[in-house]
Amino acid sequence: MIKNLKKSSAGKRGDSVRSDCYFEIELKNSGGIKIDLKSKVNVMYGESIKQMILDMCKFFGLKDAKILLEDNGALPFVLAARFELAIKRLAHPPAPSLKEEEFNITELNKNFNKEYLLPFNEKNLYSTKKDQLRRSRLYLPGNEPKFFVNAGLHSPDGIILDLEDSVAPSEKDAAQLLVRNALRSVDFYGAERMVRINQLPKGLDDLKYIVPNNVNVILVPKCESAEQINQLEKEVEKLKKQFKVENPIFFMPIIESALGVIKAYEIASASKYNCALAIGLEDYTADIGTQRTNEGRESIFARQMLVNAAKAAGIQAIDTVFSDVADMEALRQSVLEAKSLGFEGKGCIHPRQIKIVHEAFAPTVEEIEKAKKIVLAFEEAKEKGLGVVSLGTKMIDPPVVKRAIRTIDLAILNNLLDKNWKKKQ
C-alpha cells in the first residue's frame, strides 16, 4: 500500500557511478508523467529509455508524477530494476507525509505488488546437475550491476549474485530486484547461476525473487543446523510449485561458525537438493577467536571436518575464497593445498583468479595417465561383460572408476587431453 507519501528515490548518483542510474519520483495530483532525463547515452537511447519509463508507469498505474533520471549508462535491466524500486519505495518513504486523498493513486495501490518482468534471455534457460563441476565460483556484489554483464566471459564454473554481505542493509530491496532482473536478462555464458541469499530466516524473503527466475544453486550463508535447510527446502518447493518451476534447484550451505562445523554432516545430509558444502573462513576464524593466516593451521580441523562431512553425505566439498587478489602464486598454492585436502572448488572474488583456480585443480600428468588406464580397463570389462574391473593384479572399485572419469573430464576441459584420446590410444 502506498501510504501518505510524496517522494521516493532509488539507485546511485554521482560522477563516479558507471553503468547505473538514479531515479526520483515525486507524486503530483495532476499533470501526468513528466520525465527529466539526464543521460550520457541520451542521443543513442534517450527515446527508448523514456518509452520504458512510460510503459512502466502504465504497468503500475502511476499517473501523475515528476520523474528525475540521472543515467550513467545503465543497461535496460538496471533501469527497470531501479525504477520499479523507486515506485515500490513510495511505500517506505523518508519523505514528509501527505494525505493519500490528495493523489491519484488508487490504481497504483492495486498494482503495487506486481512485478515488471523483462523477457527471459533464452540463452539462460539451462539447468545444471548435482555433480556439476564447481571448481570456481565468482562472487559479484548483488547491487553492483556494472560487474554482471561480462562476468561470464571469464569462464567461471559458477557466478554468484550476492544478496548477503556485499549489500548494505538499506539496499537489500534494491539488490533483490536487480538480481531478479539479472537472472532474466544477463547472459551467464553457461556458468552455473548462483545466488547467495541472506542468512536464514531473513533469506527466505529473497527466494521469491530468484526461484521463479531459473536460479541453479542457492548458497545458504552461516548455516548452523539441518532445520534451516529443511525450512529452505520447504519454501523452495512451495515456490517451485506456485511458479511451475521444473528445473532443479540445488543448495550449497556455507559453514562459517564453530557450531556449523560441528553440525556439518547433519547439514550436508539435510536435503536431497544439497549439492555441496562450502566453508567460509573469514567468519569462522573470528568465531573461534583467532586470525586467518595464509598457512591456515587454525582452520585445518574445520576444513577436514567439512570435507569429511560432505563426502559422507555424497556431495562436493568447496573451499573458502582467497582474498588477496594481487598474489596469484599464493592463490595457486592455496588451491593445491585445498585439492590435497579433498576440496573440489574455491571461491573467487576477482575474475583473474578463475584461470589460476582451474589450472591448479587440473589433474597432473601422473593422475591423467593413471585415470586413462582405469577408464580403459573399465570399458574393457564392460565390453566383456565382466562384473569386476581389474588393472594388472589389482581390483578396481566403482568409486575409483568414477573418480578416474572425473579426472579425464577435467583433463579434457583444461586442454591437457584430447577429447578423442581413446582413438589415439
Binding site: N42, V43, M44, G46, H154, D187, R352
Partner: protein
Amino acid sequence: MKLVKNAAGRFVPTKVNGQPQIPFKGVDKYKPTGYKAKPPIRTCIDYPSDGNKVVKDLKTALKKAGLKDGMTISTHHHLRNGDVVTNLLFDVIHEMGIKNIRWFPSASFPVHSHLIKYLEDGTIHHIEGSMNGPLGKFTSEGKMKGVGVLRSHGGRYQSMQDGEVHVDIAVIAAPTADPFGNATGDRGKSACGLIGFALGDSEYADRVIIVTDNLVPFPCVPWQIQGNNVDFVVEVESLGDPKKIVSGTTEVTKSPDRLLIAEYVADFIEAAGIMKDGFSLQAGAGGTNLAFVLFLKEKMKAKGVKARFMRGGSTKYLVEMLEEGLTDYILDGQTFDLEGVRSMRENANHVNTSPFTSYNFHGKGNFASIVDTAVLGATEVDVKFNANVVTHSDGYLLHGIGGWQNCLYSKCTILAIPSFRDRIPVIVDDVTTLCGPGELIDVIITERGIAINPLRKDLIKAVKGSGLPIKDIKQIKKEVDEICGGVPAKPKFNKEKVVAIVKWVDGTVLDSVFCVEST
C-alpha cells in the same frame, strides 16, 4: 559549402578555410608531384656572432618574428596536459591585438580549454591539429570561426612538406636549450623525453622560437632540435606542471575485462605466428596496451623469443623489455613516464624518433609499414572494419588522430577495444566519422571475441585451431546490441555545416565532422 562524395562514400567539402581540397581517392591512390616546400634562405651574418639569440620575452620574440593577423602558429604537444607555454603564447598574442591566427598544434589537451576565449574573440580563427575534450565540444557545436582540420602525426608532417600548410612562426617549448637554440627534451625540470613532433616545424617554419625553463651554456647536448634552425630563444620560469607532463608511472589497467582483451591480444600475436625472433611491434600507453605488452613479455620469455624493435609511446614496461634484453631497440615517438625519459637519456638503444622517421608519407619508404604488428584503440568500428578515433557515438569531437592512421600500415593492425562502453556499443553498422579505412584494419579484439578481416585469409588460417574465440564481427555486434537494448540511434547533425575535416595520411579529405544539433 559544396560537398562531394569521395572514394570512401563520404561527403566532404572541396574547399576549406579558402583552401582547395582533394577528396580521398582510396588508399595509396593519390601521389602529388612537384617539389617539396622550402623555408626562406637565411644568412648567418644576420644572427649574433656570439651565438646568443636570447631575447627578453615571448612578446619581443613574436614582434621580431613579424607576427601579423592571419598567420599560422605551430606548437607541439610533448608537454601534454602540463603545458603552460601554449596558453601563455596566446595570452601574449591576444595582448598584442593580433587576430585570425591559424593554430597548428601537433595535438591539444584539456589544459588548452583556456584558449576557448581566444577562439570566441577571434584571436584564433581555427585549429588544425586535434580538438580534444572541451575544444572538441566547442568545435562540434559550430562555434569555431573556421573549419577544423584533423591530421595524423604523419599527415601533419606531410602537410608541411608538400606546402599545404606553411608555418609562419613555430613556438617550441624545450625542457633544455642553449642560447644558440640547440634544444632537447630529455633533461631539465620539465623533461618530457623527446620533442620530435617539433622537428618538422623547426625545419619548415619561417621563424622559430625556442621557449625554455632550463637555459644551459652552449652546447646543449644532445640537440634534438638544431640551433641552426632557430631564430630566437626565450627563457621562462616554467614550461608547465611536471606531474602532468609525464606521469611518474604509467598504470596497467586493473579492469578484468580490459585484461581479458589484453590477454587475447597477446594470445593472438603468438597464435598468428607474429611473435618470433626479430619481430617488431608498436604499443601505446593506454591501459589495455600496457597490459598486452606484459602478457606478451611472459610468452616471449617462455619461448625465448626476442624482438628487433618496439615502437612507442615508451613507458617503463617497454624500458624493462629493453633492459631485460627482450628487444634490441625502442624507437620512441613520445615518452609517457619518467622511466621512459631516463632510459632515453641513458640508453643509446632507446632512440628518439620524429614523425619524419616514423610516419612520413613523402619519405622514400615508411617505417610504419615495416612493423609486424600495431595494437591500437578506437572509439567506434563498423562491420566493414572501418574505424573512428575522433568522435564519439553522440557525434561530438573528443580526440585527435595522433599516430593512429599512420600505424594502420603495419603488417597486422589490431584494434583492442571493449565491445561496448557503459551502454555505448563500440561496434556499429557505420562509423560516425571515418578515420581509418577497413582495408587497413586486420583484427578487432574485444572481450566478447576476436574478429578477423575477411581480407586477411592468411591470418584466419594461421589461428585456426588455436582455441581463440574467433567470431564474425556481425555476431559480436548482434550480441552487443542485445545487451545494450537495441541498435543505438544516430546523433542529429546539421549536414549543411561542416565543423572539421579528417585528412587521410596523403593529405586528401577522408571525412567531414558535422555540427551537432543541440537536443
